[in-house]
Symmetry: C2
Subunit: 346 residues, 2 copies
């Protein structure tokens, strides 16, 4: 049977103060009417019934995840975040106990998808391919711009219209390299979307991460999870498995995709006024340009003589950030975490 694993444990610090520890980006309606995790479940609902969806989240968010997804019974909370390799191993182990012959898809909880029909078709093809071949499939997104914030995967030998072998994974490139990648047509964005049989992924963990796999297999209950999990290496599945495995296949992801990594990315999903300002909620401007203002209909944000700003109002905090420096919001969050009086704002 086919299983869906949703990785929903991100902290979403780049969206502070709209996102908080207990309610990060994936649990907010950042670009849609439903929250991102609700959208993620909904758009794959035709392929995976609720009983075969597993959400991996963390202790702080588990209550809100259950509230937002009342039909999903399979929710696992990591005791601590250990990046994606341990997280996926945990999911594999969870499903193996219930359905050792399963084929599973892994998706992040917080991406936006432009063409849901193509997206679903891609999964259907990949699930079928993974059921019949011992491969690790990554769905590689056709790049639409030389994005320097994403990892890329280079295509190798062509298998069919829909699949190629993977040649190599590359980290976030600089601008020139990214432009070359896009121009070559031989690179896909690595979106963290995977499809494989339990057999194939378990074999890969056994071969490339034998110690991690041994530890994961020793987990029997909540108590052992809490004891074992924090000791696992903090490492991504890309590093731990995909870059090492010889049987990686890239499925052609020809649908619009966006990981909505910061407010500037959010803004691209909403119409701008004549001066390039994007508003969620009430806004008024005088000589303001290319700004993003996030509030609600009851609280007005007034922008006067400013450019390229992100302004986010919440009842407990206001963020004013240069649009191209939103990665530094993480530093602000770190700073606040170190101050007793402000920690409650996170």
């Amino acid at each position: 049977m086919n299983w869906l694993v949703i990785m929903g444990g991100g902290s979403g610090e780049r969206f502070w103060p709209a996102s908080r520890r207990k309610r990060p980006k994936q649990l907010l309606p950042i670009v849609g009417k439903r929250t991102m995790i609700q959208e993620t479940v909904a758009r794959l609902r035709p392929l995976f019934p609720a009983s075969r969806v597993l959400v991996v989240t963390n202790q702080e968010q588990v209550r809100e995840v259950r509230r937002q997804l009342p039909k999903i019974r399979n929710v696992v909370a990591e005791p601590v975040g250990r990046n994606t390799a341990p997280c996926i191993a945990l999911a594999v182990s969870f499903i193996a106990e219930r359905d050792p012959n399963a084929v599973m898809a892994v998706v992040p909880a917080d991406a936006w998808i432009g063409d849901v029909t193509r997206y679903q078709e891609t999964f259907r093809d990949a699930l079928t391919f993974a059921a019949n071949h011992e491969v690790l499939i990554t769905i590689g997104i056709q790049p639409t711009m030389p994005h320097t914030g994403y990892g890329y995967v280079q295509l190798g030998e062509r298998i069919s219209d829909r699949f190629s072998k993977a040649n190599r994974f590359v980290e976030k490139p600089d601008r020139t390299t990214a432009e070359q990648y896009v121009a070559s047509g031989q690179y896909r964005w690595n979106a963290g979307i995977f499809v494989w049989s339990l057999r194939a992924i378990a074999a890969a963990y056994r071969q490339h991460q034998p110690e991690m796999w041994r530890q994961i297999e020793s987990i029997r209950d909540a108590r052992t999870l809490k004891r074992v999990y924090p000791k696992l290496e903090k490492i991504s599945v890309d590093y731990a498995i995909m870059e090492k495995a010889g049987n990686v296949v890239v499925a052609n992801g020809d649908f619009a995709w966006d990981d909505v990594g910061d407010w500037a990315a959010v803004a691209r999903h909403f119409p701008a006024d004549g001066a390039g300002n994007v508003a969620r909620g009430a806004i008024a401007t005088v000589e303001a340009a290319d700004c993003i203002a996030v509030s609600d209909e009851k609280h007005l944000i007034g922008l006067v003589g400013v450019k390229d700003l992100v302004v986010v109002h919440t009842p407990y905090a206001t963020l004013v950030c240069h649009k191209h420096q939103s990665q530094k919001v993480r530093e602000l969050v770190k700073q606040l975490a170190g101050q007793r009086k402000h920690r409650q704002l996170l």
Copy 2:
């Protein structure tokens, strides 16, 4: 007897959203612990008992003025704002009914004074001088910088250490002219602070504004005030009287004075952090410089990668404005006034 007239009818649009129509700058604790109008009354209390203080305000603010100044019984509300010439004429008429031999001082409700002892001495001297001479005294502030936002008065013939005749009034000068004024030592800032006998000011109105004076003298009660006042010319006392009169005297105002005209001026009254940021309330910064953040202790303003901004949080609206464009906040206020749904925010 000596009377004090406090002109408190300003709309304070430049301080929106901290200031609102019913509670503009003079009714807020902008730079002190008490509101600016409370500070204004307090610093002249030794010279004028509450029974001889008259506050001229407007219909929208009169309730709040009475709340803030419970000991002041003499409060007159203009039916509409008509600038300072009609306002002062109204005050003259009010006092003349009660004390036709009075000497009166006129001060704006919203200025900051650095040296209250020198300030009081200046008034004492001016009140005595005005009691003995039929002159119109303006207290001219010794300029400390070539400010282009103030009007200036040029000194004429010296009368004593403390007083000179006035040569001429000049409007807000450009930078170069302002520098020449300051360098010459012959100019003072026109701070809108006046001292004169009722006899002298009434004579000046009769001579230079006979029609306005006739209308003001026809006011007998609230009903005639409401009918007559809106018809008066909207004109400043500088234009209407001071620039025309031949008996203007400048008293030497050698105390620190600031009309605190915008947030940048407010900021000069508070300590800045190492990067030039001034905060009222909770603030956290990452690579922010020369900003002014106004909030309260419960609502944090986070500034990331920004420079020269004014950020003002209130529960109903947030302003983000370039520090050197705060005069344009007025345009924002005008815009909101034209929108039914936002009018309540003013």
